[in-house]
């Protein structure tokens, strides 16, 4: 039974890492109705920029704001050059644009900083908590707990931003209808700029945590794949949904790998979350926390 809980808790904590990436998707989707395919590339770009800056013997405490500025500038440039000319275009057009953007950002990151694999130490040790190991014989990582703390702070801040501020209300209005929002005087470009900037910040945090665990390398772009089932489950426009979806996906994929995997040859972690999300789609297409869409016909 101890082993079951160890897998479960480990899975929940892994899920938090997926949620961190999913949050970036949610932010942009909420504000523009666009599924930002480039979010994984942004995570990689943010992390490699941070490490690249530190390679000039710059302290990580200074590298962080520099990287943040780079990400915000990137977001603003994307808004001005790519999205602004496409206001009121069909969503599929905007989605296709983000696919192109993903390739561009991946290439730009390698062009600027090279393609070498780098290590990243944040001072958070990825080792088990001793007192938990001694008392319950379970291995719970200090790093995972710290990541969960970071995610909790992020989610609380973003939830407050969206629900308790004028900007948040404007964001929600823009997400509902670009044209109507413009008609009542909401500065669409400014809102999109803010959102892409915040998404850049979330990408930086996710990139640092994932980069610290796996190394800063191109494969960071793949973490976006882990966020997709989380979004389907939690809903594309819900910040709490990203967290709850992450927890469910993290826990179920680990339990499935350990308990079902051996029966079918193992290695099911890659596709199991997608299958779960697919089943969930059939039952609740808008996700757990997504807005139910009702259309008059």
């Amino acid at each position: 039974m101890t082993f079951f809980f160890e897998v479960l808790i480990g899975g929940l904590l892994s899920g938090v890492m997926y949620s961190l990436v999913a949050l970036g998707f949610v932010l942009i989707y909420k504000a523009s109705g666009v599924f930002n395919f480039a979010q994984g590339a942004m995570v990689y770009f943010a992390a490699i920029t941070f490490v690249g800056v530190t390679e000039f013997d710059i302290s990580p405490w200074i590298a962080f704001p520099i990287s943040l500025i780079v990400m915000v500038v990137l977001g603003l440039v994307v808004e001005k050059v790519v999205l602004r000319p496409l206001v009121n275009q069909p969503q599929i057009t905007l989605f296709m644009v983000t696919i192109g953007l993903a390739f561009f950002i991946e290439g730009l990151a390698q062009l600027m900083w090279g393609a070498n694999v780098r290590g990243l130490e944040l001072g958070l040790q990825d080792v088990p908590l001793e007192w938990v190991s001694e008392r319950w014989g379970m291995s719970i990582s200090k790093f995972d707990l710290a990541a969960a703390g970071v995610a909790a702070i992020l989610v609380t801040s973003l939830a407050l931003l969206f629900n308790r501020t004028r900007i948040g209300r404007a964001l929600r209005a823009v997400a509902d209808d670009h044209q109507a929002a413009l008609a009542v005087g909401i500065p669409l470009q400014q809102i999109w700029g803010i959102v892409w900037g915040v998404a850049g910040f979330v990408a930086l945090v996710a990139g640092l945590l994932w980069g610290s665990r796996n190394g800063v390398q191109f494969a960071l772009t793949f973490v976006a794949l882990k966020a997709l089932p989380v979004l389907i489950l939690g809903g594309f426009e819900s910040i709490p949904g990203a967290i709850v979806g992450g927890l469910i996906i993290g826990a179920t994929e680990k339990l499935a790998e350990v308990y079902i995997g051996p029966m079918v040859g193992g290695g099911i972690e890659g596709w199991f979350p997608y299958m779960l999300a697919l089943v969930f789609l059939l039952v609740r297409p808008e996700g757990l926390f997504g807005e139910k869409i009702i259309r008059r016909v």
């Binding site: 082993f3 160890e6 897998v7 480990g10 899975g11 892994s14 890492m17 290439g107 390698q110 062009l111 600027m112 090279g114 393609a115 070498n116 694999v117 780098r118 290590g119 990243l120 130490e121 990825d126 080792v127 088990p128 190991s133 291995s139 990582s141 790093f143 994932w210 665990r213 796996n214 190394g215 800063v216 390398q217 191109f218 494969a219 772009t221 793949f222 973490v223 882990k226 994929e253 680990k254 790998e257 350990v258 995997g261 040859g265 193992g266 290695g267 099911i268 972690e269 890659g270 596709w271």
Partner: protein
């Protein structure tokens, strides 16, 4: 600024093609490289090493006066792009002498094409192990070692660690592998050796790309194995090392495949990688005379291929240099038979690859003593060695633990012959009669 200039050059490579000195009176070698994408670190180091060696050969007069030429094409480690690159380059500059894709996927894609085009393909340390049987695979050369030979050598090493192969009886060994053809390739050898020596083999797959492995490592912790063999690639490797640290599994008891044994695999894992052991088919370092020559004559002249010159002597760079040396030696061998100072045809280069005799003395002459094991190929044996060495990461570099050593060669050869015969039957290939070959 220098970085930006080099980045711009990298950008040109990303566009698809980067070329260097090419002419029809040169021996042309297409380079199917990957310098961007998830496996860029390996591709840039390996092909950088090969090009550095080719440049060194050209700078010192070529092969009996014949200069080498090459043209790069970016594959991004993508099988379809690799095949496209091969098709684009195979007839250029008088035709390709030989091709090395450094990718199992691309190699499989080219298997039938190289036989049709009659261009020898090398697969240094990867690909299908049965290609070691030259009777069936006339145009494919897994020179040095295959995954099967490596798997056998790993078991041999573990046997030495526990005080003899007989002491492996009752031990538990986990095979933690990338859930792909690459990761599954050594399983038949591990299973055969588990049956022979009585150890328990626990197979645990990791789904691509392997950037989360918590459940696998909890399973490993529960199984309490004596050793874990890490058959990983790319991001899977540092993730495995970090995950091992997380569950408290000693890194000294982890044994990695050679694709999990480069600086790029351990540096991202930080302290979690200390003590980790991996296999290698060449030795890293800058002290070998050939590496010193490259440093002085190529990097000293500003012609080095590595974007970051501090990577000289790294695992991937030296592997690339060794690849370059073997190819040049094959061309030299062919010239000895077909005419010194002449450009060799692909078939003549194939003959050279089939008659390699890189003895310890010859390797020393090339300035690479102990950098790689002796290689002697033949019509029937396209591998020619089967030896690997084991090395340990101490936090700063890989230190050798053993000399180059082989595993159960007889068992591996028997399996190679059986598998190749099966392939020949499926593809309706009549195996060559090596007694009639020149």
């Amino acid at each position: 600024m220098k970085m930006m200039m080099k980045s711009a050059l990298l950008g040109l490579t990303m566009l698809g093609v980067a070329s260097t000195a090419v002419a029809q009176d040169t021996q042309f070698i297409p380079i199917l490289s990957y310098r961007v994408g998830p496996y860029a670190a390996g591709g840039s180091g390996y092909f950088g090493g090969a090009i550095d060696y080719f440049n060194l050969v050209n700078a010192t007069g070529g092969i009996n006066g014949v200069k080498l030429s090459w043209e790069e094409c970016e594959t991004e480690y993508n099988a379809s792009r690799g095949v496209e690159c091969y098709e684009r380059l195979k007839k250029k500059h008088g035709g390709a002498s030989t091709v090395e894709p450094l990718s199992t996927g691309i190699a499989y894609g080219l298997l039938d094409r190289v036989a049709q085009d009659k261009i020898p393909m090398t697969t240094f340390g990867y690909g299908s192990a049965n290609a070691a049987d030259g009777k069936v695979f006339k145009w494919v050369f897994p020179v040095g070692t295959t995954y099967w030979s490596q798997a056998a050598a790993m078991v041999e090493y573990l046997g030495q660690k526990v005080g003899g192969l007989d002491k492996l009886k009752g031990k538990k060994i986990v095979h933690l592998y990338h859930d792909s053809a690459f990761g599954k390739e050594p399983i038949p050898v591990f299973e055969a050796l588990a049956a022979k020596h009585g150890f328990e083999l626990i197979k645990i797959p990791v789904a691509h790309p392997g950037n989360t492995q918590q459940s696998q490592w909890l399973q490993i912790r529960q199984a309490q194995p004596d050793y874990v063999i890490l058959w990983g690639w790319g991001v899977m490797n540092p993730t495995a090392l970090k995950s091992a640290a997380k569950v408290g599994f000693p890194r000294e008891k982890m044994l990695g495949v050679w694709w999990a044994g480069s600086e790029e695999d351990v540096i991202p894992a930080g302290d979690a990688a200390k003590g980790y052991v991996s296999a290698a088919f060449s030795a890293p370092g800058t002290n070998f005379p050939v590496m010193q020559d490259i440093h002085k004559k190529i990097y000293g002249a500003g012609k080095g291929n590595l974007e970051d010159p501090t990577r000289q002597g790294s695992i991937y760079h030296t592997r690339g240099v060794v690849y370059g040396m073997v190819i040049v030696e094959a061309i030299r061998k062919a010239q000895d038979k077909f005419g010194k100072g002449k450009v060799m045809t692909p078939d003549q280069v194939r003959w050279g690859l089939e008659h390699l005799d890189l003895s310890e003395a010859r390797i020393k002459e090339l300035g690479a003593a102990a950098m790689f094991p002796p290689i002697k190929t033949s019509c029937a044996d396209h591998e020619g060695s089967g030896m690997v060495r084991f090395q340990q990461w101490d936090g700063k570099g890989f230190k050798p633990l053993t000399p180059f050593m082989a595993g159960d060669k007889a068992l591996v050869r028997k399996m190679v012959d059986e598998s190749a015969a099966k392939y020949a039957a499926e593809k309706k290939i009549t195996p060559r009669d090596c007694s009639k070959e020149g």
